[in-house]
């Protein structure tokens, strides 16, 4: 039979506005942390705890590893998708949705229920109707080769521009992931509104300086300070000598800027600096 769209908006207020990225700000960016593309370079086993906007087709593509899933070069774990409810079945302990985002067949999305009798009925997880758009956020799972999503959060889409936003976020996030795993300097792949590496700056710098929004001079000064093994840090006059093409004033300005930003700190006197990043 041919179904009809229900469609309309939810009543009033906005549901989940965005992907609800869960990560605390990364060390330098103050924005969103990146997935760890070159995870073998990171200290310890840093498990991917980032939230990645995906399509169902991405989830189907992901390969199952020992304790996570891998898409291309990246470990993925927590994901968020936006799609249409094609089916909704309530069982005693969970609700099983089939969510369709047009990129493939509908995906099983399971939401475990709190069977707490203290929660009034109206606050219990509601069953979202067929043909409505929802956002599901949770962990990718596979059982006997079949993928599914265990959602810790399902929210209705009340403003359909969220769908457009999700499409854009998916493209951006996955594009940044690929760039992140390609570049030599470990440029962070951001999600959301943080500053991106525009690619205009030469990546041929020595050292592993992330894109911190520094200009050329600041970058060179910082790299030089970072590469020092000295306990007491680097003497500014040494930096001035080494960076011949740069004026003393420019070097000193850079040092002051970097110090104000917290990238370096003075040690034995106002002329010696060390880097705050531990490399």
């Amino acid at each position: 039979m041919w179904t009809q769209g229900g469609g309309g908006f939810g009543d009033g207020g906005f549901g989940n506005q965005g992907g609800g990225y869960l990560n605390s700000p990364g060390p330098n960016q103050g924005g969103f942390d990146s997935p760890a593309p070159s995870s073998q370079d990171r200290k310890g086993s840093r498990r991917a705890q980032n939230l990645l906007p995906c399509t169902v087709s991405h989830l189907l593509q992901a390969q199952q590893m020992e304790d996570s899933f891998r898409l291309g070069e990246t470990d993925i774990n927590q994901v968020t998708i936006v799609g249409v409810v094609r089916n909704a079945t309530r069982a005693p302990t969970n609700i099983l949705y089939k969510i369709d985002d047009m990129t493939g067949p509908p995906m099983d999305v399971r939401q475990w229920l709190d069977n707490d009798d203290n929660i009034p009925d109206e606050d219990q997880d509601q069953l979202y109707p067929v043909n409505s758009y929802i956002r599901a956020t949770g962990h990718l799972r596979a059982f006997q080769g079949k993928k599914s999503l265990v959602a810790f959060k399902i929210a209705p889409v009340t403003d359909y521009n969220e769908l457009t936003m999700h499409v854009l976020e998916v493209v951006q996030a996955h594009m940044m992931l690929e760039k992140g795993s390609q570049s030599t300097g470990g440029t962070s792949a951001g999600m959301g509104g943080q500053k991106q590496n525009t690619g205009g700056r030469p990546m041929g710098q020595q050292g592993v300086v992330n894109d911190l929004g520094l200009n050329n001079v600041q970058n060179q000064v910082l790299t030089m300070i970072q590469s020092s093994q000295d306990e007491s840090g680097v003497n500014v006059s040494v930096i001035e000598q080494r960076l011949r093409g740069i004026s003393r004033d420019a070097v000193r300005n850079a040092v002051e800027f970097l110090s104000n930003e917290g990238h370096i700190y003075s040690t034995i006197d106002e002329n010696h600096y060390k880097s705050t990043d531990s490399y």
């Binding site: 041919w2 493939g104 067949p105 499409v167 854009l168 493209v171």
Partner: protein
């Protein structure tokens, strides 16, 4: 064709310009309802790239349709759509932005893939 057929396959998000490349296939087309035929078996939309496309229905409409509408259907030889299902998006949907977004998914299809039958 049954409902199940359409929903088990990828349905690329397209605008009117892309329809010729998808003849005979299922797509997802976004547009704004323009006029509805009296018999309720067809209506026209203005797609996200501003073109007029006719939508044909297997059974008459049972409700009034207006505003932004997302259609899943098969593209006929004449680029009309045999609609299998639709969802109404209302009045506040930014059609231009959506058009830009789907053009990006085509330009960067690597990052917005469509499932191929080998993995489902």
């Amino acid at each position: 064709m049954t409902m199940g057929d359409a929903f088990d396959q990828p349905r690329p998000r397209v605008n009117a310009s892309m329809l010729p490349q998808h003849i005979g296939k299922y797509v997802c087309l976004m547009g704004e309802v323009m006029d509805v035929d009296q018999n309720g078996l067809m209506f026209a939309v203005k797609t996200s790239d501003g073109q007029r496309v006719q939508i044909n229905l297997p059974e008459p409409l049972e409700e009034m349709v207006q505003g932004a509408i997302e259609i899943v259907g098969e593209v006929a030889n004449n680029c009309q759509i045999s609609c299998q299902s639709y969802i109404l998006f209302g009045a506040d949907f930014d059609m231009n932005l959506y058009d830009e977004a789907i053009k990006l998914t085509v330009e960067h299809s690597k990052f917005y893939p469509l499932a191929d039958s080998s993995n489902f």
